[in-house]
Point group: C2
Chain length 158, copies 2
Amino acid sequence: MSLQKPALDPQNVEPRSRSSYPEPYRSRVLPRETRALGEALGLTRIGVNLVRVLAGKQSSMRHWHTHEDEFLYVLEGELVLRTQAGEQQLTAGMCAGFAAGSTDAHHLINRSERPASFLVVSNRDPEDSAHYPDPDVDLVWSPPHARKRMTRRDGTPC
Amino acid sequence: MSLQKPALDPQNVEPRSRSSYPEPYRSRVLPRETRALGEALGLTRIGVNLVRVLAGKQSSMRHWHTHEDEFLYVLEGELVLRTQAGEQQLTAGMCAGFAAGSTDAHHLINRSERPASFLVVSNRDPEDSAHYPDPDVDLVWSPPHARKRMTRRDGTPC
């Protein structure tokens, strides 16, 4: 018998392959499979997503959050965590965490030949913005006065 | 080479076996192994714990939170989720979620003969209180004017 809420089998949540990134960043993350577990369970104070990153793809562009803690837990496969300090290989059972306001930008890269999955959890804060410090990534997520929108660093829409 | 923060191998976090419950509830949850992953990673807006529940033990008494969303993800073994609606068996890869203020109290019971592990994540809210509706559990966690303290339902200290 299938699980009833408040329990959930993630495989029963329809995966999405969406990104708010414009090109050329969009193609670096899509296609992907994101299952919005927190949303499916009616949660609003934390966001919980199960993300399957295909071979050669990235979880996101390297970024940090102003008002949201972020926690990642690898469930399957191999992912390279890239931060200011360099790269580390994460395998199933390993995790990482980034405090709100810490400017150590991060992302995950799947350099293996098979998909890799991770859980990602954050608090949800309407004041949050994400910054992308890499010189080749001209993006800001939801800067002041551009709520829930992606812009260039100078504030112009993507 | 071992991982450097912001990455972390949970096995390098010292497990704790603590509970704020008085007896007879305390013995229903201890001994256990709780690894405070969020704390180890410097997170303050979300709490993240990896909990190993021994055979015959429970994750907690059945409870619900006033101001904190709670998300559980089973990593290993078998755990029975008990809520108002009854019981459901959760195995590795299954999850459950409880929105802040939802009065559907819950806990996990390990009725198997081996340990079971789960990740539990919440937002952190200083206004939060936990209520324990089962008739045989006379506890309130952090009711108004008793911050970060366990009391009986009538407000007297445990």
